[in-house]
Amino acid sequence: MRLVKPSYKTMTDESLMVSVSKGDKRAFDEVYQRYSGPLLGYFMRMLWKDREKAEDFVHDIFAKIVRRPELFDPTRKFKTWVYSVANNMCKNEYKKQEVRKNTSNGLDSSYAVSDVNANVLHEVHDVQFREAFEESLEVLDQKHSEVFRLRHIEGLSIKEISEVLGISDGTVKSRIFYATKYLAQSLKDFNPVMNR
């Protein structure tokens, strides 16, 4: 018996996965706590903001972790592994659907502009920029948008993205800058905001 029990909060993802493979429920809870939210957001962004589908995908990816934890190689980083699995799930879904779901355009109708809010102009610009940004990402081809999402939204490094997608670092950089140039061009109307 160990003198001091390990704190699951401070354990690495890889160590937690080793514990999960031994049936440690609390280790699984910690992994779920760390990655369920980001993965839900990732699936939401990748699957046309379909919440139900994203929830199902979150369930499916964690079900894989429960049923077959041996699929994870502890020598690899769990983060890149789980995102690569998530990315492959999305690709499979794209193949199934073949048609991507369009997102709503323009401002949210429920957004109330308050005169008393001094930052209302900036907020409107931010919301508009956000909507335009997401719309542009949707229009962008999938291989470029996924790299951009993984880098700027999910917070993966170029090296990690290359591991997730199984491509070289140079390809990742090239796709990122291509996507960035495309976004800069499509969002040039938001220069006042972008130049803040």
Partner: protein, 235 residues
Amino acid sequence: MKKDIVDIVMEKEFIELTQIERAELNEFCATEEEYNQLKSVFTNVKGMSFEAQKPRTETKDRLDQLFDDTYPKRSPVWYVSVLSVIIPKDKPIYRQPLMQVAAVALLFLLVVPLFRTEMTMSDNLIANNEVVVTENENNRVVEAESIEQEVSVEDVIQEQERSVTAGDVVPGGLASSIDELEPMPTLASGMSSSAPMSDHPDGVFMGGVSEGESVAYSQPASESSELLDLLTATF
């Protein structure tokens, strides 16, 4: 974490780039204007808040059920529930109730002897007081003994006094002569003015009250003129 090219673009101005960085970026943005465009997109996207949504609790419940099915728990034993309470696995050893109780018990066992030592010390103090008392008692005993000794001495003296006989005081020759004297006859019976004159130099007469008994008595000097003259003669 090592900074990649995107981090460099977000952090540095175009004029701050090194030759190596410019060479790496030259493939994607050749001019400063292009560089600033990329920088704007990066910084604005970074400033966007992507609220972290949480999956529904139903999703977690389904996964918990799946986990329990995949890793079935061992058959419950009566003491497992007790052990789970006193030795919870999820807590470090110093936070487990059993260990806490053991620590308190150990602390108690370590502290109690200290109290006992203090009690012993106070007992010693009491013992010292008792010593004083004992000394007093000893004194009393000594006094009592001395009193007893005095009493015994007095008894001895009394006994000695009682046991003093004429033989003890009077020299042996005289004692024997005294013993040989006949008892002086009682005044009531034989004492009279016409009592016979004693041959004894001290005027002691031996007379019998009854037959077989003798009493020694002395004749008053007043009744003997010679003796009186002798006694009253002035020198």
